[in-house]
């Protein structure tokens, strides 16, 4: 395993530099996807008829190969990180839009009616009641989108030096150095696991109100009666 971290100079990055680039190219599309999905999902919740066509469009977009996106985009955005991140952003929608819609829809009718009866307007109700209660579903979506994005960044290698750790696999081929491919795969896997773990921690911090997994807290229930929710 000599030269495991000895990155060929054509990549113009150290190993850590590649990781930084990879995280940026995978993370920014997920954030952008979330920013697009939140209002889009709210529209789908308010106007029910909109949801099926939106779902159909996001699914079709997901089916377009990234190579096809690159061919079109390269005329406008060149061989840049942006060209890689745009299709990745589009791909997250197929996961994030349904996650948010289902999360918001899963808020019990009684809770929504109670909020309305207490004088919450639609916007305040969405931001202060529906969205917070949808957080677990949204983060579940973000976990899938993030892990998928981390693996998809590699295709950036197709347009030159934009595949981050993916270019390492390419170089393994060119220079006949299989250890570089092992390095790339293992590093990406570790990145994915760390990112996923980070999101789990974020979820736990955001939702102290959830009974999930906290067996000890369940035992604290004052009466055996089932809480009807």
């Amino acid at each position: 395993m000599d030269g495991f971290f000895d990155i060929p100079s054509d990549l113009q990055h150290s190993w850590l530099g590649l990781i930084g680039l990879h995280v940026r190219e995978a993370g920014l599309p997920v954030l952008a996807g979330l920013l697009i999905s939140l209002p889009l999902a709210q529209l789908c919740v308010r106007f029910r008829w909109l949801y099926p066509p939106v779902l159909w469009v996001t699914t079709v977009l997901y089916a377009i190969p990234s190579l096809a996106f690159f061919v079109v985009l390269i005329d406008y955005t060149g061989q840049t990180e942006l060209t890689v991140m745009i299709p990745l952003t589009v791909y997250t929608l197929v996961i994030l839009v349904p996650a948010i819609v289902d999360g918001v829809r899963s808020v019990p009718q009684e809770t929504i009616a109670a909020a309305t009866a207490m004088g919450f307007g639609p916007v305040r109700r969405y931001i202060q009641v529906q969205l917070p209660i949808a957080v677990p579903a949204i983060i579940a979506g973000l976990r899938v989108a993030t892990v998928s994005s981390i693996s998809l960044v590699s295709v950036g290698a197709l347009i030159g030096n934009q595949g981050a750790l993916g270019n390492l696999i390419n170089d393994a081929n060119i220079y006949n150095r299989p250890e570089l491919a092992v390095n790339a795969v293992v590093t990406m896997a570790v990145l994915a696991i760390l990112a996923d773990g980070l999101l789990v921690v974020v979820r736990l911090l955001l939702t102290p109100w959830m009974p999930s997994g906290a067996r000890a807290r369940r035992a604290e229930r004052p009466e055996p009666e089932v809480a009807a929710r």
Binding site: E110, A113, M118, V129, W209, E220, P222, E225, A228, R229
Partner: protein
């Protein structure tokens, strides 16, 4: 006063949920809307705070059209309690209760102090303040729902089947608690339920609605039980409305006999002296005067009463406080056919026969023809 003036709710598909309904809801009392599913009772309730807008007619609140003020101002002036409580699961109990005060611009500390005060009022332990709704039982959650509705001290409380999802024991507790809170606060409460027993128990006035959103009868519960307007109302009241009506007749008029009562440590002379023509049985009490059971006089031996051999005495009624229904129930439960009246400490105040209770019922009926029964007597 809330006045519903020939209000109709028609949906775009032509369904009529409420049909030319007119109701005058008196201040500081509990008005119950009751009826089978699909009778428009919840729709009616939701038209009061404009969660549903009427198609025709007007709703006047203290003489003003409810459409005159901004909808969210109107809603914040009315507390709302819903089935399953509808708590905000992502907020602590204290923050759930403080919701409306916070929206009305109260400071955080003032709103929380108010919330803690209300927790006490609805019978919730202060230690639950920082918990989340999932950590509470259904009954406790419902109490939080009531506290949340009361938080900004609104004059009106709208309650939509608030106690339907809890078990009967918890429900009875919540109903008693509501009556107690109402005694203290005197809100104008509109209460929706499909349970006629609940309606009769808590309502000052009861509006029975029928499918199609029509009002079938609007009357105080005692009048509803004594003279249902039509076959639908009679059917909805159930088969034992006669017995249930007895809840509105006080037992204060019953003549209690103290003759046929002996203490467990009575002497032979005392037993012999108690043997009267009035009653075929004697009620044996413990030394404190609490009932133990019935016995035939000749089977009682002085000094050695076998408590296991005594006949059961049913469930004693509190003389004067409980209704004739409780007294009759006690007489029916005991194989001797006699009811045991006790004082508030549970000591025997006297005994009364089924026949005497029957006479009291006939007397109450005769009186009921001239003046309405006292609604205060329905605690039993």
């Amino acid at each position: 006063m809330i006045r519903i003036d020939s209000v109709t709710k028609r949906y775009p598909d032509g369904t009529v949920a409420v049909d030319r309904l007119s109701l005058e809801i008196p201040d500081r009392s509990i008005t119950v809307l009751v009826g089978p599913s699909g009778c428009g009772k919840t729709t009616t309730l939701r038209m009061i705070n404009r969660m549903v807008e009427p198609s025709e007619g007007t709703i006047l609140i203290d003489g003003k059209d409810s459409r005159q003020q901004p909808v969210n101002t109107l809603r914040r002036s009315m507390g709302y309690v819903i089935q399953n409580a509808g708590l905000f699961q992502h907020r602590t109990i204290v923050d759930n209760i403080a919701t409306v005060p916070r929206m009305l611009g109260w400071g955080k500390e003032k709103a929380r102090a108010r919330a803690r005060e209300l927790m006490e009022r609805v019978g919730l332990d202060g230690s639950l303040a920082k918990r989340y709704p999932y950590q509470l039982s259904g009954g406790q959650q419902q109490r939080v729902g009531v506290a949340r509705a009361l938080a900004a001290d609104p004059p009106v409380l709208l309650m939509d089947e608030p106690f339907s999802a809890v078990d009967p024991v918890v429900r009875k507790g919540l109903q008693d608690e509501l009556l107690r809170i109402q005694d203290e606060l005197g809100k104008t409460i509109v209460f929706v339920t499909h349970d006629i027993d609940e309606a009769v128990k808590i309502g000052t006035m009861v509006a029975v609605m029928r499918t199609g959103g029509k009002l079938a009868q609007y009357a105080p519960p005692a009048e509803l039980l004594s003279s249902p307007a039509d076959a639908f109302v009679e059917d909805f009241l159930g088969t034992d409305r006669g017995i249930r009506r007895l809840s509105f007749f006080p037992s204060a008029g019953l003549r209690l006999l103290t003759g046929p009562v002996v203490a467990v440590d009575a002497t032979a002379e005392q037993i012999a002296a108690r043997e009267t023509a009035e009653a075929p049985y004697l009620l044996v009490t413990d030394v404190d005067g609490k009932p133990l059971g019935w016995s035939e006089p000749r089977q009682l031996t002085a000094g050695s009463v076998d408590i296991g051999q005594l006949l059961p005495y049913g469930r004693p009624f509190v003389a004067g406080t409980d209704s004739l229904r409780a007294a009759l129930d006690c007489a029916v439960l005991s194989p001797t056919g006699w009811a045991v009246g006790v004082d508030t400490e549970g000591r025997v105040a006297g005994v009364v026969s089924q026949q005497a209770i029957g006479e009291a019922i006939r007397g109450a009926h005769a009186q009921g023809l001239t003046d309405a029964p006292v609604p205060d007597s329905k605690v039993g």
